[in-house]
Symmetry: C2
Subunit: 322 residues, 2 copies
Amino acid sequence: MYKINHTTTNELSRVQEKITKELASEKIIQDIYEYIFQSKGKKTRALIALLASQSKKLKPLKRIELASIIELLHTATLVHDDVVDQSKLRRGEKSVNQVWNNSYSVLMGDFIYSKAFMLMMKLDRPAILKELAGATNDIARGEIIQLNLFENYLHLDLDGLLKVSYLKTGRLFEAAAKTGAMLADSSKADVKSFGLLGKTLGIAFQIQDDILDYESLHINTGKPALQDFQEGKITFPLFYALKHSANDDQKFLLEHLGKKKLTKTIKNRVFNLVRSDMPMKCSQTLLDSYISKAKKSLEKVNHHSCYNEMLNLIMFSSQRKS
Amino acid sequence: MYKINHTTTNELSRVQEKITKELASEKIIQDIYEYIFQSKGKKTRALIALLASQSKKLKPLKRIELASIIELLHTATLVHDDVVDQSKLRRGEKSVNQVWNNSYSVLMGDFIYSKAFMLMMKLDRPAILKELAGATNDIARGEIIQLNLFENYLHLDLDGLLKVSYLKTGRLFEAAAKTGAMLADSSKADVKSFGLLGKTLGIAFQIQDDILDYESLHINTGKPALQDFQEGKITFPLFYALKHSANDDQKFLLEHLGKKKLTKTIKNRVFNLVRSDMPMKCSQTLLDSYISKAKKSLEKVNHHSCYNEMLNLIMFSSQRKS
C-alpha cells in the first residue's frame, strides 16, 4: 500500500466513516450501500484530494468532505461499470449486479451520484462543483467512446487511446488534485500544477491497470485474468500487440477479443502475443513517460507539505501489482 | 395536448432547441443523443417549470435554461429506466438499449445527468441546485423501493404506495414547480404552494399512468398493454384489485405478476380482475382527490399569471389517455 503518514491514514479512515454515514432510511438501500462500501478499496482519488488540499488555514473536516464526495463519484462509476462490463467481481467481492441485479446497480449508482452532488452543495464552493460536474460528464463520455473503440479499430491511434484513458481515469484524478488545491485556496499556478499532476498520474494509473490485465495469469492482482480482453477492451498492451504482430496473429487477437469464453489454449496464445517483447516494452515506456510527467508537475509544487507523500504515491503507481 | 398559450408553446420549442444543442463532439454520443431527443415527449415537467417561473422581472432565457435542466434530468431517468425495466419501447420508438445496448443506456444516462448538473452551475442559483440534486436522489430512492415492493407485498399499504409515487414521479414535479417559483424570486408562501401543487399533480399523474396500464388493451396509450404488470410493478389499480379480490383471484394475480410471457387468456383474466368495479372506483377516487389537492394549491397562487394554463394542465392530467 501507499506510504502515507499517520495523519493522512487517519483522514482516509474519516473519509470511510463519512461515506458510510450517508445512508437512506430504507433498509434495502442501507443493505446495498453497506455492501458496496464494506470493501474499502485503495481510495487513491480521495487520497489525492486529501494531499492536494493540505493547508494550515483549512479545517480537516472540509477536506474530508471533499475527499468523500470524490470517493462517492468514483464508486458510482464503478457500480455502473459493473453493468456496462457485466462484471461478476468487484474488489474481490461479488458485484452488486450479481448479489442483486442490474436494475439495483443502475439505481444505486444514480443514488450515489446524486448523494455526491448533494454533499457538494454543502461544500458551498461553486468552482469545485463545476469542476466535478464536468469530470463526471467526461468520465461517461470516455466510457462511451471506449465502447465504440472496437468498431473503429482501424482508425485507432495512440492519441485516441490516450484520450479515452484521460477521460475515463485521468479526468477524476485531475479533478481530485485540482479541487483539493482549490479548496485550500492555492495559487492559480499551483492549482494548474496539481491538475496536471493528477491528469498524468491518472493516465499512468490506467496504463499500469492495462498492463496488469495481462499479468494476472501469473500473479494475483485481484482481477480475473484477461478481463479487459474478454470484455472487448482495446487497452495499451493490446494496442501495441496488434500494431507489432504478424497479420495472422493480429487476426487471431481480433477474432477472440470480446469473447466471453476462451479455452486455455487460446488464452495462452493471447497471453504470449500480448506479453511479448515489443508490446510490453512500449507499454512500459509509455507508463514511464507519464510517471515522469507526473513527477515534473510535482516538482513545481515542491514547496507543498504533501510533497513526500505525493512522491511516494507516484512511485507506488509505477510499480503496483493490484 | 395541453391547452397552453402561444408564448408558452414557443418557450417549449426553445427548450427542445436548447437541449439538442447540448452535444458532445464525438459522433457516437451525438448519434445516441439525437436519437433520444428526436421524440419530443410531452415535456410536462419542463412546462411546469416554465409556468411557475413566469415573471415580468425575469428574462425568458433563464427560464428556458431551468426547464431544459429539468427535462434533461427527467430524460436521464427514462434512459436508465429502460435498463431497469428491460423496456423495448420508449415514446413509441425502440429504446436506446434496443438500438444499442444496456451499456450505452447506462452511460448515456450518466452523460445526460451530469450535463444537467453542468447547466445548473451556469444558472448560478445554489438553492435551486440543492433542490434538484435532492430530487434526483429521491427519484433513485423511490425506484429502488419500488423494485423491492413485490417482495414486501404483505406489508404494503396505500401510504407505502403513495410514498413511491411521490418519490419517483411527484418529487420532480414538485422540484420543477418549486424551482420555477424560486427562479422568479416568488415569496416563500408561493414557493411552498407551487411545491405542493407540483407534488400532488405528480402523484395524480402517476395514478393516471397506473390506470392507463390497464386500459391499453382497448385503447392506444403509446405503451404496450399490461407493461407495468409484466414488469412486476404493484401499481394503484393492482393494489386495490389484490385488496378486494377473493383469495383465488389474489393468488392468480400474484402468480402471474412480473411474468414476461402471458397467454391471451391470462391477460384477459388479469384485465378483468383489475378493471373490475372496486379497483377502478378506488383508483379513480384517489386520482380525483389528488387532482383536487393540486387545484387547492393552485387557488393559493390565483394571482399568478400562469393560473389559467396551470389549471388547464391539471384538468388535462385527470383525463389524459397517453
